[in-house]
Amino acid sequence: MEKAKGFLFDITKCKLCGACWIADKERNKLPIPEGDFTKDKLSENAFLEMDRRHDRGVRFSCMHCLIPTCASVCPVAAFEKTSIGAVIYHKDRCIGCRYCVFGCPFNVPKYEWDKPLPYVRKCDFCYSRIIDGKQPACAQACPTGALIFGNRDDLILEAHRRIRENSNYVDHIYGEHEVGGTSLLLISDISMYKLGYPGNLSDGAVPSLTWEVLEKIPNVVLIGGTFLAGLWWLTNRRNEVMQAESGKKDNSSDTESGSEGGGK
């Protein structure tokens, strides 16, 4: 099996030239809006957003989580985490419930709100290109080396090296541990939270929150079913006994006058 791939995005190196943005549009055959490309927010027609914040170029796109929430929440398994790291979408399965849009901690999946039969859209890590041995379009297009593509493990080592050698960096690789780790890793000389990335994410994978409940279902069914059946039998038996005793009372008329509870 191939090693899991990843991106390393070095915010200090991005000059906001927009090459990756154009490359994303071309690769995914998306309409190219007029005007400033930094105004183009993530949407069904923008899988990659490059924004200027604190005078730096910031990249927003699918993080390709190692344990993706979208793949976990989808009732029909329309999202798949592939072995090379890409989280891809099988549109022929999708029922359009938008749980992925709702659940994604990075708000990445976008919905075709203006279509009668809408699909979910997001970056697919240029899965077909990686399979062909090429780089994702955006990484290929980046002229400054701000975005590099490679094995995720190597990229983490490289990121640590950069942080070690240059004290300007914040000593944190965003995406190394967040929500269980992501394939897109970011390093910066300013806090990622200030740049608009969710700052409150813990290291635990989000899907474990629901799995902790879901894994109890077989037990609930078995124990609950048995318990209810037991209760039914118990109360049924009690009623039978009560009926039998009252019947006995009726038959033997007034011989027994004391009241008897429905114990047993």
Partner: protein
């Protein structure tokens, strides 16, 4: 008619123009009224069916038998409406069966799909005896009666899963949902509140049908149910309190904002006021008192579902969501259809035992126990409703004034660095379009002047010396220096031919 006209038009818009045109939903707020009311409340309001059928068939509490039929009827109608609401809300409703064959056991939604499917089937089977009776299909009736106990047990288990899983649905958004409502105990709370809501719904619908069909009310049974309600609500309220305090979220209740008003309204209507009223036998045994308290519970828990799915999500999403009139009209139409179906079924099938004459709550105080509510209770009911309405009103008001704060730095992007003087660089190359080196990437155009305007220097971009150009490797390295490639411009006249321009390192 107006309800159906508006609803029908909304359905038309939804399926012709899409969800964007018919709803106020967006990528930031993907679930709205159709999920929050039609699905969450539809399922919760149907909870009377499993609560009462468990009591009657499993626990042999035969005295509640007169109520069980209307509860099952409500449940069946409720689930039908839930499915209808899902058809409106899903992007591809004709694929609604997909979860049944395309499994993903890690998904709460997957569990819910299965529960909806199975439990609707169970409800239909529990409901079928009423139809068979009417049609006098004795064999079918006997067949259903033979399996009724396993069926009811299955129904209770499925309901337990389904009610709680609607709460689990929100476990996935710890970073989005307001901590007033987000708790790991969501599934348990949804289940407990469903039982309370189920009991309250039975009381409310018995009352409404007694007015509609001019029939008597099983006041003894219903006031017993009121007693059960007090117990469940007390446990539920205590659990909510313990949960909030253990998570250190109690302080949030008093933080200003629409959330706290909505939270207080929910707690007041769903827990505090009904317990305070129903704890007194005189209120419990009184038609009006019982009805008003049960209505509070119903409204309070509808508010709870709204808060969990909508109010609590607003602040994070950065969008002010209010349902569009089309969303409201469809939900309203569903409610109307539900009421009509209930009335038709109640009229033609044997749902209620018909006996004593009608006793309307506003009739004169002939029967002291059933008709006359003590004044303190009246005051309590009135003030609880008034207070709750004020709370909701302040909540909506705060909401109207609320300005969503999205990511902290969006506004700063306006403050760009001052453009450099272009005249300093008279020899800038023209816009440069890289040839189509990769079929997927296509043409990429760079504007040198734009780059200078944002203050970049040559080496900023050219560190890797044109990594984007794929060389066909036929030409020698010197070709780059010649007129053929870079050299055509970098000849020392139009652009610099210093080594450092291209070879940074």
């Amino acid at each position: 008619m107006a309800v159906f006209g508006a609803g029908g038009y909304s359905i038309f818009v939804r399926f012709v123009k899409g969800l964007g045109a018919s709803t106020h939903l967006s990528d930031s707020f993907p679930w709205g009224l159709w999920v929050g009311f039609d699905v969450l409340c539809g399922v919760a309001l149907a909870a009377g069916a499993f609560t009462l059928s468990a009591a009657v068939y499993v626990l042999h509490l035969e005295k509640y038998k007169p109520l069980v039929r209307s509860a099952i009827l409500t449940g069946t109608i409720g689930y039908l409406l839930v499915i209808f609401g899902l058809i409106m809300d899903l992007g591809h409703p004709y694929r609604i069966w997909h979860p049944l064959i395309m499994w993903n056991p890690h998904s709460v939604m997957f569990e819910i799909s299965w529960c909806v499917t199975l439990y609707t089937t169970v409800l239909f089977m529990e409901f079928s005896p009423f139809l068979f009776e009417k049609l006098k299909w004795k064999k079918a009736l006997r067949a259903v009666h033979a399996v009724i106990i396993p069926l009811v047990i299955l129904g209770v288990v499925l309901s337990t899963l389904h009610q709680s899983s609607l709460g689990s649905l929100f476990l996935i958004v710890p970073y989005k949902l307001n901590p007033l409502w987000y708790t790991p105990w969501l599934p348990v709370f949804f289940f407990m509140s469903a039982i309370a809501l189920g009991c309250a719904m039975v009381i409310v619908e018995s009352f409404i049908s007694s007015v509609l069909f001019r029939r008597g009310l099983e006041i003894d049974l219903l006031s017993n149910l009121g007693k059960v309600l007090v117990v469940i609500l007390s446990i539920y309220g205590l659990a909510r309190y313990l949960d909030l305090s253990s998570r250190g979220a109690l302080g949030l209740i008093f933080q200003p904002g629409f959330e706290h008003a909505m939270f207080l309204a929910e707690i007041l209507l769903a827990i505090i006021a009904p317990i305070g009223l129903l704890i007194f036998p005189r209120v419990r045994r009184n038609k009006l008192g019982l009805f008003m308290s049960a209505t509070m519970v119903v409204v309070g828990f509808i508010l709870n579902r709204f808060n969990t799915s909508m109010t609590g999500m607003v602040r994070f999403s950065g969008v002010k969501y209010l349902p569009s009139w089309m969303e409201i009209s469809v939900s309203f139409m569903l409610l109307t259809i539900g009421l009509i179906l209930f009335a038709i079924a109640a009229k033609h099938l044997k749902i209620f035992d018909e006996d004593s004459p009608c006793l309307l709550p506003w009739q004169t105080c002939r029967d002291n126990v059933v008709c006359c509510l003590p004044t303190p209770a009246k005051v309590a009911i009135f003030s609880a409703w008034a207070f709750a309405l004020v709370l909701i009103w302040t909540g909506v008001n705060d909401f109207a004034r609320f300005k969503p704060l999205n990511h902290p730095t969006h506004t700063e992007s306006a403050a760009k660095s001052e453009p450099n003087d272009l005249s300093q660089y008279p020899n800038l190359p023209k816009d440069f379009t890289f040839s189509k080196t990769d079929p997927d990437i296509g043409l990429v155009t760079f504007s040198h002047s734009d780059h200078f305007l944002v203050g970049a220097e040559c080496k900023d971009c050219h560190e890797h010396a044109f990594s984007i150009i794929s060389t066909d490797k036929k030409g020698a390295i010197t070709d780059y220096h010649s007129q053929k490639y870079c050299g055509s411009c970098h000849d020392g006249k139009s652009a610099s031919n210093d080594c450092i321009s291209c070879h940074k390192k």
